[in-house]
């Protein structure tokens, strides 16, 4: 069952990287085999949680020993404007006895307790490695529980060891397609109903975008899954257009929604000024093509024109301050790539970016846009990054939390642009937020102080010192 699903995901025709592969390569799937002793990154279960947990009014129950949830709950930045149930960590916390005797009964009891005590619209049950090994059939338990308790109980079959976070994203998408999307009808529909897929409302980013959609007259019928509600996600099949945000991770959802319900999709991004405008433009155009009122396009253009002039005006003060400042950008691929043009627009120089998660096509695209000068690092070791920073080859590093210490230990400014960040960077306002954060850290007075030699050290040991004065 699960093997078929995984193979199916790997055969995804909507994935550009996949289309370029031979049949044999496809069979191997997109998970690179991990090297023991030199691997990093989350598991498939982690990836599934990232996609589904933002559904805020549902209960999310992890079936496994304590490691999978106990070490990892209340650690994501996704926000909800209503129900906070998603922030409650539920786990069956399997003990030795459950491992020997099977955990299915305990799982059922756990589901029942949650339904009785919290009465959520649905319960998502996440499979993990240990019960997958001992053969707990979470699909059967969920089916039984759903019938007994009269609530959707959804098995998320993505135990960690089947692969990477990315695979987990996709399996979560499949779960929604199989069990959720299409199970609830909206009270009413409009010709401007859209569904956004792959937006998790980190640090409340969706809220920087939604007011613009409202103003244009586009109704966000369903977001998968930022600030999500179970019933809204279940209504996604009535959208007129789907927008895919992080295209690679959930492309299966967009394509299958097109296949099943005839909803056209496009890939867009909320990061960066031009990408944001393109997204609004495309969304309006596609809705009109599907029969929405033509005035939608004018309203969209009006909003775009106003917001663009406003954002450039607001970025203007940063330009002289950013002049000559060099940025190292390490991100998870395409999504934040669209930030590059915006940052350059604000006067920063982007030295290069990591392309570990980018496809060959992406890399071509980057090369075309940026020329050969621009570095594309495939697999830069932490030590090498540290060296570059310590040798004053960049003024700031922007990356995910995992690599922050490479920069901070080299006493070079660092900015979090991944999952755990505390600031919202999406939309027009978001790019101003981003520049403000960059400016705040670049101009902080500590950089000069922390680079000073200690009283017992002879003279400034590093060129950095001079650069900071």
């Amino acid at each position: 069952m699960l093997q078929d699903k995984i193979q199916d995901v790997f055969n995804e025709p909507g994935c550009a990287a996949n289309q370029a592969k031979s049949a044999k390569e496809k069979k191997k799937g997109c998970t690179k085999s991990l090297k023991p002793g030199a691997a990093a990154g989350g598991c498939a279960y982690d990836g599934a949680m990232i996609v589904l947990q933002p559904i805020a009014d549902a209960a999310h129950l992890v079936h496994g020993p304590i490691a999978c949830l106990g070490n990892a709950w209340d650690n994501r930045g996704t926000r909800s404007s209503g129900s906070q149930l998603y922030r409650t960590g539920f786990t069956t916390d399997l003990s030795e006895l459950d491992v020997i005797g099977g955990g299915e009964k305990k799982l059922y009891r756990a589901i029942k307790e949650i339904v009785q005590q919290y009465d959520p619209p649905a319960v998502f049950v996440y499979q993990t490695c240990v019960p997958a090994m001992t053969g707990d059939d979470i699909g059967a338990v969920c089916k039984f529980a759903a019938k007994k308790l009269g609530k959707p109980v959804i098995p998320v079959d993505a135990p960690g060891f089947v692969g990477s976070k990315n695979l987990g994203n996709k399996l979560a998408g499949e779960t929604l397609l199989d069990h959720v999307i299409g199970t609830v009808e909206p009270e009413y529909t409009t010709p401007t109903d859209v569904c956004i897929v792959g937006e998790y409302n980190l640090a409340g980013e969706l809220w920087l975008v939604k007011p613009l959609l409202d103003e244009i007259g586009i109704r966000l019928l369903s977001c998968i899954s930022g600030d999500g509600r179970y019933n809204e996600v279940a209504q996604a099949h009535r959208a007129r257009v789907t927008m895919m945000v992080c295209s690679q991770a959930l492309v299966n959802v967009g394509r299958k929604m097109e296949e099943r319900y005839g909803i056209p999709y496009f890939e867009g991004s909320f990061y960066g000024v031009s990408d944001m405008s393109d997204t609004l433009r495309t969304m309006a155009r596609m809705l009109v093509e599907r029969g929405a009122d033509k005035g939608l396009i004018d309203r969209a253009e009006g909003v775009i024109a106003r917001e663009e002039s406003r954002v450039w005006r607001r970025l203007e003060p940063y330009r002289p301050r950013f002049d000559g400042k060099r940025v190292l950008l390490f991100t998870g691929g395409v999504k934040s790539w669209s930030m590059v043009s915006a940052l350059e627009g604000a006067g920063l120089t982007i030295l290069g970016t990591s392309t570990k998660k980018s496809t060959p096509q992406d890399k071509e695209r980057i090369k075309k846009m940026k020329g050969d000068e621009f570095h594309q690092w495939d697999d830069l070791k932490p030590r090498e990054i540290y060296k570059m920073l310590a040798e004053d080859k960049a003024d700031i590093m922007m990356s995910g939390g995992r690599s922050q210490f490479i920069s901070l230990k080299a006493k070079v400014p660092w900015l979090d642009i991944n999952q755990e960040r505390h600031h919202a960077y999406a939309g027009y306002d978001g790019i101003v937020n981003l520049c403000e954060e960059i400016d705040k850290t670049l101009s902080n007075p500590i950089w000069r102080q922390v680079r000073l030699p200690a009283p017992w050290e002879p003279a400034p040991a590093r060129s950095l010192l001079a650069a900071a004065e």
């Binding site: 991990l34 090297k35 023991p36 002793g37 030199a38 691997a39 990093a40 990154g41 989350g42 598991c43 498939a44 279960y45 982690d46 129950l61 020993p65 304590i66 490691a67 999978c68 949830l69 106990g70 070490n71 990892a72 709950w73 209340d74 650690n75 906070q84 922030r87 409650t88 960590g89 539920f90 786990t91 069956t92 916390d93 399997l94 003990s95 030795e96 459950d98 491992v99 305990k106 799982l107 009891r109 029942k112 307790e113 490695c129 240990v130 090994m133 001992t134 960690g160 060891f161 089947v162 692969g163 932490p382 030590r383 990054i385 540290y386 060296k387 210490f405 490479i406 230990k409 080299a410």
Partner: protein
């Protein structure tokens, strides 16, 4: 693993729930990883799937705000069926090639323990097949996720280090003292203890020594191993010490193993927080060293006694719920009782012998949702950062202790041992009560007519 069996006496009530809700428990391998991180140039390795490592790493990074070296044998679906030895061997070889650590500390996980890997056998096999890696110390601990918890894992790793590395010594260094430092001691606590011990002219060897690796380092190069900590050579030489201080119930097995192996006499301390507990430590150190107590410590004791006199007003009969790892739970609840507070609930993530010694109205094995139920009319909750949601819902202040503490700076550097540490902890918690009472004075609550509860001018006011 160990030849010493701990007998668990009384069992404390478990929440009768099937769904652990907002867990307090963290996994055994995570505790083991932290212990390994207190060894210099060490790389902890989880024998399991990569995801477990990623989660553990994030948790420790968020707590310590430090780079955390942690690797994985990256077991996948196929290797879990075939057995993990190949992955383990490959991981160990890769790590030595890339990072050349002094020690690799291996902790098994649920994934490898479900099938049941014979780690002792695998150790021998690895050594046999890889004579070229004889220069790297290897320590293996069995730490399944589905048994025990964070403290147990920490204890098992320390025991494994002792059993694998410590050697008996024919000679004794009169000034060398071992300290088995449990996970309830923060890097800041270990630093404080070093200060106290050194004031007696003794040189301590801490196992593990998180004060050197986890208290904020500025490296001159970027390494993928721990930076600082007790060295492998120091660990090997523990047999030459004059005595061993064993701190915390979860260090007992390691302590017994050390004594059995080296004949170095050990002194057990269940806690080092509180006046009497600190007195015992100082007395012991004075006896071992034969030196008088330093003037600094005498002043600190005086200051603590004075602080207790000033502070007790605010503690008397305060109702406090505490949820922490067992040994820290014991230290904190005992200290609160020492100050005249009432511990209404003590919640532990796991069954543990130390729970029998707790002085609390309710003692149970549970999670943060149980704390939420039990702390309804408490004046304070003491727990890790995960307690914040429940505390906020109840409107009860939360004093953060233990791990993880991701929403405070300097989490690893808090000091709560010895006279000085006790005094700091007492002031910090006391100030929470004090500020509440002052607030109530400023905005009288409907049910608090007269409102003033400073106990007759103890807050500096002129109330009579």
């Amino acid at each position: 693993m160990s030849h010493i069996q701990r007998t668990t006496g009384q069992r404390f009530p478990n929440a009768a729930k099937a769904a652990s809700t907002n867990p307090l428990k963290m996994s055994q391998p995570l505790g083991a990883a932290l212990a390994y991180l207190g060894v210099d140039r060490c790389l902890p390795l989880f024998h399991g799937s990569q995801g477990c490592t990623a989660f553990g790493l994030v948790l420790l990074v968020r707590h310590f705000r430090e780079a955390i070296p942690l690797q994985t044998t990256a077991m996948d679906q196929v290797s879990t069926i075939l057995g993990g030895y190949d992955n383990l061997e490959q991981a160990l070889r890769t790590i030595v090639e890339r990072n050349n650590p002094a020690m690799i500390g291996v902790a098994t996980t649920g994934v490898t323990e479900t099938k049941g890997e014979d780690m002792g056998g695998q150790y021998s096999l690895f050594r046999q097949r890889n004579p070229d890696l004889a220069g790297t110390a290897l320590v293996f601990a069995n730490t399944p996720d589905f048994a025990g918890g964070f403290e147990e894992g920490f204890g098992k790793a320390v025991t494994a280090i002792v059993e694998r590395l410590v050697e008996p010594s024919p000679t004794t260094v009169k000034t060398q003292l071992n300290v088995l430092a449990g996970s309830h001691l923060s890097p800041g606590d270990v630093e404080e203890l070093r200060d106290i011990i050194e004031s007696f002219g003794l040189s301590p060897i801490f196992l593990p020594d998180l004060s050197l690796s986890m208290s904020g380092r500025q490296p001159s190069d970027f390494t993928a191993t721990s930076l600082g900590g007790v060295t492998v050579e120091q660990i090997r030489s523990m047999g030459a010490s004059v005595a061993t201080l064993v701190i915390g119930e979860h260090m007992r097995i390691a302590g017994a193993a050390l004594e059995l192996k080296t004949d170095v006499p050990s002194h057990f301390f269940s806690r080092l927080t509180g006046l009497e507990a600190s007195d015992r430590l100082i007395r012991t150190l004075a006896e071992i060293s034969g030196r008088p107590v330093a003037a600094k410590l005498r002043r600190q004791r005086e200051s603590l006694v004075d602080g207790m006199l000033d502070g007790h007003f605010f503690y008397s009969r305060k109702r406090i719920a505490v949820a922490l790892e067992p040994d820290l739970l014991y230290a904190v609840t005992s200290f609160l009782a020492d100050m005249g507070a009432e511990v209404v609930a003590a919640v532990s993530p796991t069954q543990n012998a130390v729970l029998e010694k707790l002085k609390a109205a309710t003692v149970m094995v549970g999670d943060h949702s149980d704390v939420e139920t039990l702390a309804r009319d408490a004046d304070l909750i003491v727990s890790n950062s995960h307690g914040r949601q429940g505390a906020a819902r109840l409107g009860v202040p939360l004093h953060r202790m233990g791990l993880p503490m991701f929403d405070r700076l300097g989490a690893g550097l808090k000091v709560s041992v010895g006279y000085r540490g006790t005094r700091e902890l007492m002031f910090e918690i006391g100030n929470l009560f004090l500020s509440r009472e002052m607030d109530h004075d400023a905005h009288p609550t409907p049910h608090g007519g007269d409102g003033h509860a400073c106990g007759g001018g103890s807050c500096g006011c002129s109330a009579v």
